[in-house]
C-alpha cells in the first residue's frame, strides 16, 4: 500500500467501509469473532478458533468470516465467541470449548438456531439505536476506551481505520491548531487515568509552553497494580487508539518522539503493539511527513522489568533512560524536565485512548458524561469474590452497587459483600455503607480510597482486613526502592506490626504507634509509593477497627484467615474415625484409633488446616 496521503487515507477508509457494508447487506455474510486476549487464550480460545475454522471448512460453508478480536471483557466466561448472522440477533457465546464447536456450527450457522446452553447474551440489532449506540454494547456500560476491544482484529490497521481510526489525527494535522486541540481537551474535562487524576489539558499546555529543542511523549503502560489489567486489554484489543493519541499529543505540544513504556510481563500486548507500530509506519501514520502534513513523529518501545515503582513518572523516566528506576523529588515536573532533561508529557494508556474520541465527538460531548468534577468513563478490572469478573467501562459516578451487583452479578457462592478495594497498594477499602456513593475522584478520596488505575477487588466475609492490609504492605515493602527512609523503614515497621497482629502477639498501644508511622510516611516519603503506602492500613483501621481489636484483644480472626489465631477441633458427633485427618497432619498432632473419635493436640497443632481440608464429613471445626 505504501505511505498514505490525507486523500489516500480517506479513500481507503471509504473503500473499507463500503466493503463492510456490502458484507453485511448484499453478501449477507456471517461474521464470527473469537476473543483472543491473554485471558481468552489462557482459557483455550486459540483452540476454539482453530476448531471453528476447521468445522466451517469441513462443511464447506461459504460466506462466513472468522476473525480474532481482542478481549470483550467477559473474563469469567472465556472463551468467548460472537456470532452475527444477518437478520438474526447477535449472539455472544461463553465457555465455548472445541468440543462445542460442531454443535454451534450445525445449529447456529446452518439451522439458524442459537445454542441456548452456551448463550451468554443475545441482543437484537436495533434499527432505532441512538447516536451513541456504538458505545452501549453492554447493558449498564458506556465504552469509549474499549470501543473497539473485542470488535476489531487488533493486528489489522484497516479494521481500526474503518471504525474512524486516525480520523482525529487527520483533524489535528489539517484542520485544528494546537490551541484548538487543547481547547477541546480543556472542555472535555479529561483527567489522567493513571491514578492521580491530573487534568490532561493542563499537563499538555505546560509542556507546550516550555521552549526546548526536543520534547517527548511517553505512554505509561507499566500497570503495576497487582490485580488490574485494564491497560493490557486495551493494548491487546485496540493498540492503534493509543498510538494515534500519542501522535496527536506530539503535534499539540511540539514533540517528535514518543516512548512506550510497557511491562515485560505482557508479551502479547508487546507483540500487538510492535505489529501496530510497523503497520502505522508502513502507512505513513508514523515517521517523517505524516500524511503529507510535514509533521514527523515516531515511537519506540521500552520494556519494564518488574519494578512497581517504575510506574511512578520520575522512576519511569530513569528506567527509560536505562537506569535503576529510582524516583526523584518533584518539582521539577516531567512536563518541564523529563526524559534526558527535556519537557515530557507522560500519560497513561487509558487517558490516551480517550483522546481520539474526544476530538471527534467534541469536548462538550465528553463533558456531558460523568459527574461535576470527573468527566467521561472509567474502566475497571473487576476481580476477587465476584461472580462475573471481567473488564467493564462505566460513566464516572456509577455506584459500587451498580458495578458489583448489576454488572458483576454479585458475590460468589452467595456470601456477603464485605468491602471493595480500589487503588491497589496506594488505595483503600470501601465498606458496604458506601455501596450507593457515586464513584468519582473526589468521592473516593473523601472515603479514604483513591480512584487508582482501575483495579476493583471485591472481598467477602471470608476475607480478613488485617490480612488484606498485611498483603499490601508486604507488596510495598518488597517494591520500595529504598531511597528514602520513611518508605524504607516505615513500611517495614508497619509490616512487622501487622504480622504481630496477625500472629496474636500485638498489644493495644501498637495501633497508635502504627497511626504515627502512617502519618510520617504520608508526609515525608519522597514519591507517591511511600506517600500512599499507608492507605491500605489507614482505611482498614478506619472501617474495620473492630477486626483489629478482635485480633489484638481476643486473639480471634473471624474470617478464618490468620492461621496462627485459628483453633482446630474435632466434633465427636460427626467424626467417624476414618483417619484421613490423622494421615494428613504433617506434625502428628492428631491421635485416635480407627472407627473411634480422633482428637487434636492443641499444643502440637501448627494450624496448617490440612485436617480441615482432608475431612470429608465436616467434622473438623475451625474457629
Amino acid at each position: 500500500m505504501g505511505k498514505l496521503t490525507l486523500e489516500k487515507l480517506r479513500a481507503l477508509r471509504e473503500a473499507l467501509r463500503r466493503e463492510i457494508h456490502q458484507r453485511t447487506t448484499s453478501d449477507r455474510s456471517i461474521q464470527i469473532a473469537v476473543g483472543l486476549g491473554t485471558c481468552g487464550i489462557a482459557a483455550g480460545a486459540g483452540n476454539t478458533l482453530h476448531a471453528l475454522t476447521e468445522a466451517i471448512a469441513a462443511r464447506k460453508l461459504g460466506n462466513v468470516s472468522v476473525r480474532q478480536a481482542g478481549c470483550m471483557g467477559l473474563c469469567h466466561s472465556e472463551p468467548i465467541v460472537e456470532i452475527a448472522v444477518p437478520g438474526m440477533p447477535r449472539v455472544i457465546y461463553g465457555g465455548v470449548q472445541p468440543a462445542d464447536v460442531d454443535e454451534l456450527v450445525r445449529e447456529h450457522l446452518v439451522k439458524r438456531n442459537p445454542v441456548a446452553r452456551l448463550v451468554y447474551e443475545s441482543r437484537p440489532e436495533s434499527a432505532d439505536a441512538g447516536p451513541d449506540a456504538s458505545f452501549e454494547r453492554f447493558p449498564n456500560q458506556f465504552r469509549i476506551v474499549l470501543r473497539n476491544c473485542g470488535i476489531i482484529d487488533p493486528d489489522k490497521i484497516d479494521e481500526y481505520i474503518a471504525r474512524d481510526g486516525y480520523c482525529a489525527l487527520e483533524k489535528v494535522l489539517f484542520e485544528m491548531t494546537p490551541e484548538q486541540v487543547l481547547g477541546e481537551l480543556e472542555k472535555s474535562g479529561l483527567r489522567g487515568r493513571g491514578g492521580a487524576g491530573f487534568p490532561t489539558a493542563r499537563k499538555w499546555l505546560f509542556t507546550k509552553n516550555v521552549p526546548a529543542d526536543q520534547k517527548y511523549i511517553v505512554c505509561n503502560a507499566d500497570e503495576g497494580d497487582p490485580g488490574a489489567y485494564m491497560d493490557r486489554s486495551t493494548l491487546e484489543g485496540d493498540p492503534h487508539s493509543v498510538l494515534e493519541a500519542m501522535v496527536i499529543a506530539g503535534r499539540t505540544v511540539g514533540a517528535t518522539k514518543g516512548f512506550f513504556y510497557i511491562r515485560a510481563e505482557y508479551p502479547l500486548a508487546i507483540t500487538r503493539l510492535e505489529t501496530a507500530i510497523s503497520q502505522a509506519r508502513a502507512y505513513g501514520l508514523l515517521g517523517a511527513d505524516i500524511l503529507g502534513s510535514g509533521f514527523a513523529f515516531d515511537i519506540e518501545l521500552r520494556l519494564g522489568a518488574g519494578a512497581f515503582v517504575c510506574g511512578e513518572e520520575t522512576a519511569l523516566i530513569a528506567s527509560v533512560e536505562g537506569k535503576r528506576g529510582m524516583p526523584r523529588p518533584r518539582p521539577p515536573f516531567p512536563a518541564a524536565r523529563g526524559l534526558w532533561g527535556k519537557p515530557t508529557v507522560i500519560n497513561n494508556v487509558e487517558t490516551l485512548a480517550n483522546i481520539p474520541v474526544i476530538l471527534l465527538k467534541g469536548g462538550e460531548w465528553f463533558s456531558r458524561i460523568g459527574t461535576a468534577t470527573s468527566k467521561g468513563t472509567k474502566v475497571f478490572a473487576l476481580t476477587g469474590k465476584i461472580n462475573r469478573s471481567g473488564l467493564i467501562e462505566v460513566p464516572m459516578g456509577a455506584t459500587l452497587r451498580k458495578i458489583i451487583f448489576d454488572i458483576g452479578g454479585g458475590i460468589r457462592a452467595g456470601r456477603a459483600f464485605k468491602a471493595a478495594q480500589t487503588g491497589g497498594p496506594s488505595g483503600g477499602v470501601i465498606p458496604p455503607e458506601f455501596l450507593d456513593t457515586p464513584i468519582d475522584y473526589e468521592n473516593l478520596g473523601k472515603i479514604g480510597s483513591i480512584m487508582g488505575s482501575g483495579g476493583l477487588i471485591v472481598m467477602d466475609d471470608s476475607d480478613c482486613m488485617v490480612d488484606v492490609a498485611k498483603f499490601y504492605l508486604e507488596f510495598t515493602v518488597d517494591e520500595s526502592c529504598g531511597k528514602c527512609a520513611p518508605c524504607r523503614i516505615g513500611g517495614r515497621t508497619l509490616f512487622n506490626y501487622l504480622k504481630k497482629i496477625a500472629a496474636g502477639k500485638a498489644v493495644p498501644g501498637d495501633l497508635d504507634q502504627m497511626r504515627d508511622i502512617c502519618q510520617a510516611m504520608q508526609r515525608a516519603s519522597l514519591c507517591g509509593l511511600g506517600q500512599t503506602a499507608a492507605n491500605p492500613v489507614l482505611s482498614t483501621l478506619r472501617y474495620f477497627a473492630d477486626e483489629y481489636h478482635e485480633h489484638i484483644a481476643e486473639h480471634k480472626c473471624h474470617a478464618g484467615k490468620c492461621q496462627s489465631l485459628l483453633q482446630y477441633r474435632i466434633d465427636p458427633v460427626k467424626c467417624v474415625g476414618c483417619g484421613a485427618c490423622l494421615r494428613a497432619c504433617p506434625v502428628n498432632a492428631i491421635a485416635g484409633e480407627r472407627k473411634k473419635t480422633h482428637v487434636i493436640d492443641p499444643a502440637k497443632c501448627i494450624r496448617c488446616g490440612q485436617c480441615f481440608a482432608a475431612c470429608k464429613f465436616g467434622a473438623v471445626a475451625r474457629a
Binding site: T38, C39, I41, A42, A43, C75, H76, E78, E223, G224, D225, P226, G227, A228, Y229, R232, A264, E265, Y266, P267, E300, R302, L303, G304, A305, G306, A307, F308, S319, V320, E321, G322, K323, R324, G325, W340, A381, L382, T383, G384, K385, S389, G390, L391, Q421, G424, G455, I457, M459, D463, F471, Y472, F475, C481
Partner: protein
C-alpha cells in the same frame, strides 16, 4: 555475583545478540533493552555475557549489576528447564494463590524461588500476570493456566516432566 552454577564453556554473546547490540548501542538508554534480549537468549544473564555487554556498550559492570539487581525480572542464575510462576497478585491471593504455591511446593519437593535438583523446574511467585479474571493463575514457560485447582497440578506438571 560470586560463583554461579554456570556450565563449563561459559556462554558467549551470539551473533544475533552482537547485531542487536550494534543496532542499539547508539540509542540512548539501551542497557535494559539489551539485557532483556540477553535474558531471552539464555534464560538469565550469565556473568561472562555481562562482562561482554559492559565492554561493548561501554558501561561499567557495576552499573549493569545495579540494574540487574534492581529489577525483579532479571535473573543471575540459570533457571530450570521449565519455569513455573504462580501469581500472588491481589486477585489471585484472595482466590487461593497461596494454596497453589503450597501444592506446587509439595509436588516439586522444593520451596519458592528454588530449582529442583534435577534442573527440571524452577519455581517463583510473581505479582499479577494480568489474567486476574481467571484467578488463581499460574504459568509454565509462559503458558497460562487459569481458574486453577490444586487437584489439577499433578497432571499439569507431569506434562512438562522429561518424556
Amino acid at each position: 555475583m560470586s560463583t554461579t552454577t554456570e556450565p563449563t564453556g561459559a556462554p558467549k554473546l551470539t551473533d544475533e545478540l552482537l547485531a542487536f547490540i550494534a543496532e542499539w548501542k547508539s540509542r540512548p538508554g539501551s542497557l535494559i533493552m539489551v539485557l532483556h534480549r540477553v535474558q531471552q537468549t539464555f534464560g538469565y544473564i550469565p556473568r561472562a555475557v555481562a562482562f561482554e555487554v559492559a565492554e561493548l556498550l561501554d558501561v561499567p559492570l557495576a552499573k549493569i549489576y545495579g540494574v540487574i539487581t534492581f529489577y525483579n525480572f532479571f535473573k543471575l542464575k540459570k533457571p530450570g528447564r521449565n519455569q513455573i510462576q504462580v501469581c500472588l497478585g491481589t486477585a489471585c491471593y484472595l482466590r487461593g494463590g497461596e494454596d497453589i504455591v503450597h501444592a506446587v511446593e509439595k509436588q516439586l519437593g522444593v520451596g519458592l524461588n528454588a530449582i529442583t535438583p534435577d534442573g527440571e523446574f524452577s519455581f517463583e511467585a510473581v505479582r499479577c500476570l494480568g489474567c486476574c479474571g481467571l484467578a488463581p493463575v499460574m504459568t509454565i514457560n509462559g503458558k497460562v493456566y487459569g481458574k486453577l485447582e490444586t487437584g489439577q497440578l499433578p497432571a499439569i506438571l507431569a506434562k512438562y516432566r522429561q518424556v
